[in-house]
Each structure stands twice: as C-alpha cells, then as structure tokens.
C-alpha cells in the first residue's frame, strides 16, 4: 500500500520537477539575450547586446530547429555577435578574433524542449502585425538563379556565407537560414530590417517584392541542399 502512496506522490510532484521553460530563459538566456522589447533604439544600446534579441522568437524561429540547436549549438555568425566586437587586423584583411568568441552553452534535451516551448510563445503583437501568414508565396528557384539574385542583384553575399567558407563573415550564414527561420518572417525582415531591429548592421536595400520572394526561395533551396548533405 505504501508503494501506491509513493507513486501517487511522485505523480503529483512530477510537473513541479519538470524544468519550467520560462525559468530556463530567465536564468540561462537573459544575461545575453533580450527577452523583452523593445529592440535597441540607438547604437549605444546595440553595443550592449551580447546575442540576438529573443523577445520575438515565436515569430522568427522554427521550433524543430530551435530545440535541436539548443542541444547542440553551432556558430551561425563566423565573426560573432556583434561582428565589430570580435575582429582584429590580419595580414591582408581584418579577421575574426576567435579568442573573443565563446561557444553557446548547450542544454539538456528536456531543458531544450522546455526552453523552445517558452521561446515559441514570445510573440509581441506589435511585431506580429509585421508578418502576414502566407507572405511567402512559395515556389522554386534553381541554386544558380537564386545566387544571381542574392549576390549579383542585391549584394547580400558581401556579409553572408552561402556555404561553409564562402561569403561574408559579419552577418549570420544563410545556408541554414530557412531551416532556422519561418519563411514569412524572412520576407518581412528583408522587406524592412529596421522595423524589427532599427540599428542592426543589416541595411534596408528596398528590394523589390518579387526579388524578396526569390531570395527566400533561394534560402529554402539552400537549406534543402544543406539538409541533403547531412
């Protein structure tokens, strides 16, 4: 009989023992990531940021990627966040100062699941209004045509890698971009980066709407290629 009471007691206690995602965010993420808005409004505020803002993570990220990345984080920005705090002069050009780059902490699987659940709930209404479901119209583009739009017509390659070791280093790599981020968010962000984060070093290139669609199609094609390689 005693055993039954013990089992009942454990069953009642179990939810309390499970890691609370919001607690994980506050305790392990908040020192580097903003969990509450607004985004940095001045360069001085931007310089205080140690990692990307997460207060709109529920609009930005894909859940499956988020959970697996938190278990096994890999560097997305070759020169860190923010690039100008992690570079030094090299022989021919400035290079990432790897000694200043610290690996992102990894979470246990259960914590990664709880944290991802909590992150996906972060959807401030003012920013949600910038995204309309179905903003990304879908469709396919070949890798060569996509690269033409991405690089030759819009110059995005200057700051972003389209494959490991090819492309600019100051921004996040984009070959896993569409695995990480929701396509409708990508359309909105490329359309007006400053609406999301007024002072980040990503310019608004006033890209024509059809080309925004093609760029996101290209990111989807790149992510598919990156997935096929694994």
């Amino acid at each position: 009989m005693k055993r039954y009471w013990l089992l009942i007691g454990l069953w009642i206690a179990a939810p309390a023992l499970a890691a609370d995602g919001k607690d994980i965010l506050e305790q392990q993420c908040a020192s580097c990531h903003a969990l509450r808005g607004p985004a940095a409004q001045t360069v001085a505020e931007l310089w205080q940021r140690k990692g990307p803002d997460l207060f709109y993570a529920g609009i930005k990220y894909k859940r499956d990627w988020l959970e697996s990345w938190l278990i096994k984080p890999q560097r997305l920005r070759p020169a860190g966040y923010l690039y100008f705090q992690h570079i030094k002069p090299g022989d021919k050009q400035d290079v990432p100062d790897t000694q200043t780059l610290t690996p992102h902490p990894a979470l246990a699987a259960s914590d990664a699941k709880a944290a991802s659940d909590a992150l996906l709930e972060l959807k401030p209404p003012a920013l949600s209004a910038l995204v309309t479901a179905g903003d990304f119209k879908g469709g396919d583009i070949s890798l060569s045509s996509g690269e033409m739009v991405f690089d030759k017509f819009n110059g995005c390659l200057a700051c972003h890698q389209i494959e490991h070791d090819f492309g600019g280093l100051s921004g996040p790599e984009v070959y896993t971009g569409a695995k990480r981020m929701q396509e409708d968010y990508l359309v909105s962000f490329i359309r007006n980066p400053q609406a999301w984060n007024p002072k980040i070093p990503m310019p608004n290139k006033h890209t024509a709407e059809p080309n925004i669609q093609k760029i996101v199609q290209y990111l989807v094609a790149l992510a598919r290629g990156a997935a096929d390689e694994k």
Binding site: Y83, P96, D151, G155, G168, L169, P203
Partner: protein, 112 residues
Amino acid sequence: MKSNSLLFLLALVSSTVSATSAEDNYKTYCWQCHGMQGNGAGVNVGDMSVQPRDHTSAKAMGGRSDADLFKVIKEGGLAIDKSVLMPPWGATLSDDEIHELVKYLRKLCQCG
C-alpha cells in the same frame, strides 16, 4: 521664462546624448567591409567580387565630391553607378549622421 530656458536646455542635452558620433557609426556599419583602419580590408572582403574603397587613400577618395559621398552612403553604390555591394544606409542613419560620416571620411583620407 525660466522654465522655457530649462526646456530648451533639456532638449539640447537630450539631442546631444541621442546623437551617435560618426566614429561609432563608422565602426558599426562600415568596418565590416571598409575595415577597422578604413583601408578597404574589412572582415568581409575575402569573397567580394569588387573590393571596397580604401578610405585612407587621398587618390581613391579625392575625386569624390561631398555630395557623391552623401548620396552613396544614403542610397547605395548603384546610385552613383558603383557596385551593388555598397548598400544604402538611408533607413538606418539620419541625414545629419550621414553628413557627419562624410566629414569623418575626409579626415580619414586627409583630402577634400
């Protein structure tokens, strides 16, 4: 009258505090391609099809008018028939900040 003077002073102080210096804007937005030393050797240049301008070169910068520099920072390289790799920063920087950046570029090249 006293309160008007105080308001004016407060407005002056707050505008001074919120303005970003040209040096800090240059570091945040220009270093990535034009380099920490402004010599065109930024962290991104390795795979660039067109190399960024060396802002420390009087020869490379001397031929550009202030109006051209303002235009290329605000509207991007294509606006002055140059590379698409130079992006427009008009949505990020105010006109005043761009004017200050033009002055900063003149200091770097010691020209114009």
